[in-house]
Every structure is written in structure tokens, then in C-alpha cells.
Symmetry: C2
Subunit: 342 residues, 2 copies
Amino acid sequence: MMAMAVRLRDVAEHAGVSVKTVSNVVHDHPAVSRAMRTRVQESIAVLGYVPNISARSLRTGRSGLIGLAVPRVSDPYFAQVSAAVIDAASTCGLSVLVEQTDGDPAREAEVLHGRRPTIVDGLIFSPIAVTPEVLDEAPPTVPLVLIGEHLMSAERSRVAMDNVAAAEDGVRHLVEVGCRRIAVIGAKRGSTAATAELRLVGHRRGLARAGLGADPSLEVEVAEFSRECGCTAVEQLVASRVPFDGLLCFTDLLALGAMEGLTHHGIRVPGDVAVVGFDDIDEGRHCAPTLTTVAPDVQLLAMSAVMRLVTQLDVPKTPRGDSIVVPHRLVVRDSTRRSRGT
Amino acid sequence: MMAMAVRLRDVAEHAGVSVKTVSNVVHDHPAVSRAMRTRVQESIAVLGYVPNISARSLRTGRSGLIGLAVPRVSDPYFAQVSAAVIDAASTCGLSVLVEQTDGDPAREAEVLHGRRPTIVDGLIFSPIAVTPEVLDEAPPTVPLVLIGEHLMSAERSRVAMDNVAAAEDGVRHLVEVGCRRIAVIGAKRGSTAATAELRLVGHRRGLARAGLGADPSLEVEVAEFSRECGCTAVEQLVASRVPFDGLLCFTDLLALGAMEGLTHHGIRVPGDVAVVGFDDIDEGRHCAPTLTTVAPDVQLLAMSAVMRLVTQLDVPKTPRGDSIVVPHRLVVRDSTRRSRGT
DNA sequence: CTGTTAGCGCTTTCAT
DNA sequence: ATGAAAGCGCTAACAG
């Protein structure tokens, strides 16, 4: 049914050379005369030859495909990450196979110990639910780079921002705009990602630096990093009648939900409560009030992950267990912009 | 470096049977005794055998991979579409390779006439910039399903909502809430996707039905379906001093931008101007005011596209050029909720 | 119901 | 600088 079947051999015949020569041209092997090269390239163009990746992959053990596993690509943060990873991979001549885990431990485990396509050369994985035991259980079937910090003992490469410092920066900023009772939303039940824990550490450390004591009743847990949970968390805080004037939310989505909840209770942002999120999703630039956020450098995160993977691919005994830290910065917007300090 | 090399043959040896038998078990071929089947499955489990997709693909010509090409996965609408396509494909045992075109004609053409991985069995493509000529130029290298309506003469399968009817529904609703001068934002310069044209037709038809005349000065063109362009479009409208009391925006992102622009000019939504968008992105449920929108059934859209592709894959001479229409519905929210009719 | 075997298109020694 | 040929792991046609 299809034209198919423009093989290396067809090109060779058309150009009147051997298969090897065509292969050399395709791979930019130096040992080909200029004249030969152009002649072969012409044949390739005329016949519309495109290499068969399966055959190449079977022979070389490399497919040029990498996997990307995230909870869900429609989550604004992971959508950004996915877009950036695809771009970065493309830069390296790699294509990306995207999988969704929905943060389900079983599916995360599956991704990891791959029933899934054996075809990917490597995997970039953002785990949020799989237990350290599963993560460490067996060596991954392919080179693996984790996105985001994770509770784990074993040797896995990972790339993330410095979540402790990031949270600390958020708290410092809240203190600077006059907050004294800073609640935190995002201590996460049932998650095995270290993100929440580390940000919580940063929060406490930030408070300590400012000479403020930590108050467990200001630390609200959530089931998910979603808008709904952000809103619910605020309900809890308000219901508990603990006073607070600042809010550090572990994702922008939580922050957005929290602001909705605050507004609902007639609590003004930033007037009564100043709010800081994490991630710098697009909506934070446009909601009312616009959202102050701790922004990781997602482009760099993606590029670093891809680069690290490529290194592991190219240099077999690259050590694992390294951590790449990508920079973050505080983006100040209206949700923390007060006319005066207190 | 890696364990590698658990081949079909290794399983066969371990189980003391022939490769064919193992292959039969793997493929659930009926002609295998129950005892044999369990024995082989045990060996597979023990050895941790996973089929080599490259080899299979080389042999059968099928990889179990499909491509998905969208402008950008971080666009909220395409993020949703991507998530849904990945889910739908997964249901059919297919994995998805995601590519981004950024709406660049050259990259769209490239996706189509595939320099790209020859490895995908088929392609789901959401073109917005490629010209009909390029689209028709050559038969696609693999089975192709287009998402969204498109200006094209040739025989390509496509799946989309009925954009004319959808726009008409939007206009009808605006008329019902009392709008008489309904502007439209989204007539798109430089796009070859038919979406904008068809929605414009629907708009005019809706006006005609309501006994309202079309007014070209109420039809604003945009360069992109982005928030910024929505805002700019409103600036233009306001600057032109043409009165309007309703706004049909061709995407939610445009609508969000437009509402920002309106607010900026002290024009109240829905009091002074009622606003309707398209797509039903998440933010529309949470912005203030919440956004009335024409929502395509994205799950069904994705599932239909995947199913259609699978059919083309399985039945070689499936006719092309068919259109699958997915349902849409109007989701009424605050941006069109007025206390009274006019 | 099970075993043998050719070959998918490519890369890559090894000769020349 | 170029050619000939083996074989990557799998599937399916054929034989038993």
C-alpha cells in the first residue's frame, strides 16, 4: 500500500556504490570523498531515503528515543516541563515518548521496571508516589534521570532545584513584606517525593532565621498539589482559627486554590495575607492578584536532565547518584506587594 | 554494562521449548496447551524477559508507537489534548511520541513528510500553519489523522467538533443574555487551519438567525490564539470606538486576555460585555469572572483520533478523507450570567 | 500443538 | 576509500 522500501541498498544501487559508502555518507563518516558524498546525497534526495530506525536500533542498541514519565502532562507545571524536555531532546537529536503515571504507585513502578517499551534508550522520570524500596529494588533497565528530589537511598541521577533554599527564600520574602505568622500549605500525605519535606525544612529554617518560631498548627497537609486541595487547606486554616498573615504554598496551583479560598472568606490578598507559590506557571502572571512565586529554571532543568541522560548513554560507566541543582529565583508579584511593611 | 540479552531464545531454552512456542505464548496465540503456557510464562517471569521492540518492529513493520504533533504541549488546550491522546493510545497498547511544531510552517511540513523518526506507525497531527499545498503535496509516509478542521483539498482523515455549529451556539447564547452587538476575536491572520474561518461563519450565521446584521468592524483578527493577542484585540476594539456588548473569542486563552483588557478599561464582565470562549481550559473554571465556553469533548476527540488511526493501521485500504465530528457543549459560567436580559 | 529457519534493514568488522 | 558479508532479535511460513 505504501511506497516503502527505499533501503540503503536501493540508494547504493542508484548511486552505483556500495552500501557501506552510503552508510558512511549518512553518518558523516570522514572517509568519503567530496564528489562521492554529493553524488550519494543526491540519490538519497531523489529516492527520498529515510533510515529505518528499527533496523538501526536493533543493530546498534540505540533508538534515539527517550521516555519521559510525568504524573500528567495537562498539569501546568508538567506541561511546561514536558515542552522543555521535548525541546531539549530535539536539540540532541532525540525524540520523546511521553507516559503518564497519574501519580499512581503501581504505574510508576511499571514505568521504572519497564514492562513498557524496551525501545527507549533512557528515561527521564518525575516520581511522586513510588516508594524508595521500589525505586531501589532493581537497577533500572535503562539509564535513568529523576526530575525532582526524592526520598531514596540508592544511586540514581537527579536534577532539581534546591528546595530547602527555595522555600527559605520564599519565607524570607514574606518576612520582608511584614508577615509574622506564616502558614505553609503542601506538607504532603502519601507522597514519597522529597519535595514537600525539603520545602518544609526550608520553611522552618526561614522562620528560625527571622527569629520566628515554627508552629505545627500552621503546617497544613494536602492530598495532592491541586487547586482544590489549596482551597480546602485554607478552609482548614480558617476553621482552626489560628491567625496567619502569610502563606507559603508548595505549588502555584495550591496557591491559586488558596487565594480562591481566602477571597471566599473575605480575606484580602495581599492586604490580610500575603501568598507565595512555587513553579511560576503561566496563570500566576494573570490571576488577580498576580502571584509571587519561586520559579525554577525549567529550561535548564530539562536541558540538564537530557544532557545527563545523554552522558549516561554515551559513557557507559558514568557514575550515578549525582545531583544537579538548577537555579531558582523569586518572582515578586502582587500577592505579596504591600504598600507598607506590616 | 547492563544485564541485557534476555532473548526469546533464552526463554525457550530455560523452558525447554522452541522459540516459536514462546512467541506463541507472548502473543496469546490460542494453539498452546495450558500447561505449556504457564511453564513458559514462569520462565518469562524468572528471566525478566521483555520483547525487543526494535526487532519486532523491523520484522513486522509495526512499532506500537504513534506520533503526536501539536504546536506546543504547554498550551493549556494542547496539554489537555496530549494527555487525552496518551491515555487513549495507552488503551490500545500504543505509546506516543510527542513533537512540537510551534506552529512553524517549515516544522509542520517536516513532521508531515517525515524526515523525522520512521519508527512511528501513524501520526496524529494538529496543523495550524502548513499550507494546503504542502499538506496535499505527497501522500503522507504513514497513516495520518488530523485534529481540527483544516483548509485542504486532499483526502485526509480528520476529527474535530462542528465549529460552525459551535460558534453559532456561542452567539445564540450571547443573544439570549441580551447582547446585540457581538464582536468576535480570532479571525486569524496567517493561519491555514480552518478553525477560525468556520467559527467566523458560525458567528455570522448566529447573528443572522437572531436577526442581527454582521458588522466587519466587530471582527477582530489576531496573530495567535494567545492571551496577549486577546488583550490587544480588545485594545483595538476599544480604540475604534465601535460599541459592543458581547464577545465571542475563538479560544479561552483569547477570552482570558480579552477579559484582562476589558477590566483594564473599566468595562465590566458580564455587566457591560458578556464573554464566551472556546476549549474549556481549566483556568476558565477559576478566573474571575468564570468563563463561559464552548467545550469540545476532548476525551472523545482523542479517542476518535486514535481509533481512526488504528483502523487505518489494521485495514490497509481504509478510505481517507473522512471527517469525524465530536460533540461540543456550551458551558455557561459567570462571564455571561446577567441578572437580567439586557 | 511444536520445531526450524529465513530474513526484515542496518551497521560494522575485515579485506581490498 | 570502498566492498562483502555476518548478524542484531524477532516473526511467520512451513514442516512435522
